[in-house]
Amino acid sequence: MATFSRCTVFIRVTPGNVIMMDAENRRFALLLEDFMAGRISARDREELERLAGTDPRRKALYEACVTPLPQSRDESLSAFERHWQLIENPIPPIRTPWIRWKVAAVAAVVLMAVGIVGYQWFQDSAPKRYFTELGQRRQFKLPDGTTVWLNGGSSLTLGKDYNKGHRHIIFRGEGLFDIKADPTRPFQIDAGGAAVSVLGTVFNLRAYEEEGRVETTLISGKVALTLASDPENRIMLDPGKKVVIHKDRLLAGGGRLDINPPAQSTLSGEEVAIFSDMKVDENEQVANDVLWTSNKLVFDGDQLDVVASKLTKWYGVDVQLTADVNPALKFSGIFEDLPLDSVLQTLAYTGSIRFKRDGDVIVITN
């Protein structure tokens, strides 16, 4: 408790003054209250100030009531600087034991819920979905032991009762599948218009809906492809081979068919399948088509629309082409861990194209 020295001020007053001052003091107190209540008129305010000015005690009280305690501005400034540090670098709150107990309780409930849901999932095999955002590449293990690498913007949904009598998935995007061998339950992929049926194998499947084609490269084992439009016609693929099925034959080869495709079979309807050998770059151990799983962005004689799509999936940006770009331009190259701008620069140097970047939107022009 702070101690204050006693007030040691003496004021000499005459009896007549006392009465006058009493009246003045009462008036002063009233005016002061009005002032504090914010309902004082300008004239009363003048009177209040005059009364305060004529007596040191009234002046002291007046000042005490209307003037906040002087606060050091430096104090507030340094308080703000400390405060701003907290905003810039928040410190996690210290948990009291009670909070920890609460967290533990919540965790237990969550775990129980996860357990129940997991159990039910095993029971009814509710559809389960694995996916990657644009710019993201991840590996997943499916319940049957199959391993899948997903490239950016891909999704894989397990069919109902997956791993019971069958292994059926719906797939969009690009994935490298290492299918667990199981002759009793063939692995079937619905890749949007194309169905891939496999027993046990490693293969890469690129089936982004917006690209209008399905690419399959077989590393080992055996796969069979069927098209939704022509279920009778099975396309068998041997290891080391690649097939690209273009949904619209007119778009294959950028408005015309490849001048010299290694092999080509026209399917029913508008679709066309182009076969080729799997390409392996001399500096790489594995096929170009699976290099993305080792964080290498590969253009393999790709036309600009595919280049744009690959950049979009790889960097999570929006790559647009203007209508006047030459669709026949082809790009090849392997980029490892390069920032988007460097890749764009390289493409611009080699391919007589130009690009404009505005944040996450890139426009490629001639």
Binding site: N25, A60, L61, E63, A64, V66, P68, R82
Partner: protein, 202 residues
């Protein structure tokens, strides 16, 4: 980029001594509030902080007379204000919002720090602006006497007095912050003026 911008703004702000925070009108506060809410403008936030910090701290010290804790409580409340983001624009009366939050925070802190021995906060000496040395001494004596008298006010009465004096809260705002009626606020102020007058021998 944002961080660099903040540093820039704060550095600039530190050099702007003309920045007047003592005299923010309600409209000023509302407009700063919007700048913080929608533009996340650190300079506007700084102005609000500098305006409210002394009032909030003084009010907080009434409930929580340990400077360190009171500082922390006020900082916590201001963090909440910044954290409101866009919703800050919906706060109808920022003064009432901050001071109510300060009061609640201070009471929370007091409850959770009961083990601490309270030491009374000693108010800083007032620098009077009167002329002669005698007058200075007299004014200082009066000011001390008033300070002591304020400290001796009943707790609720003191809180209301501080709100109205320090925070320039209206009776209605003070009533809202304290959760009492405007009439009660008025009675508390009457009591305060009476007791302070008596302490000075008026």
């Amino acid at each position: 980029m944002r961080v660099i911008y903040y540093i820039f703004v704060l550095t600039m702000a530190n050099h702007r001594h003309t920045l007047e925070v003592d005299s923010l009108t309600d409209d000023d506060i509302a407009s700063l509030q919007r700048r913080v809410a929608y533009d996340r403008d650190p300079l506007a936030y700084r102005q609000l902080f500098l305006f409210f910090h002394p009032l909030a701290l003084r009010f907080c010290l009434h409930y929580l007379p340990i400077r360190e804790l009171a500082e922390e409580a006020v900082s916590d409340v201001m963090l909440k204000v910044w954290g409101l983001d866009n919703r800050l624009a919906n706060v109808r009366n920022l003064r009432v919002y901050i001071l109510t939050a300060v009061k609640n925070k201070a009471l929370d802190y007091r409850d959770s720090h009961r083990k601490y021995q309270y030491t009374e906060e000693i108010s800083p000496d007032l620098a009077a602006d009167s002329a002669s040395p005698e007058e200075l001494v007299i004014a200082a004596e009066y000011a001390r006497a008033i300070d002591q008298a304020i400290d001796n006010l009943p707790p609720k009465c003191k809180a209301v007095f501080l709100l109205v004096r320090e925070s320039k809260a209206s009776y209605r705002e003070a009533a809202e912050i304290m959760g009492i009626s405007e009439n009660t606020v008025s009675r508390h102020i009457q009591t305060a003026v009476k007791q302070l007058s008596a302490a000075l021998g008026i």
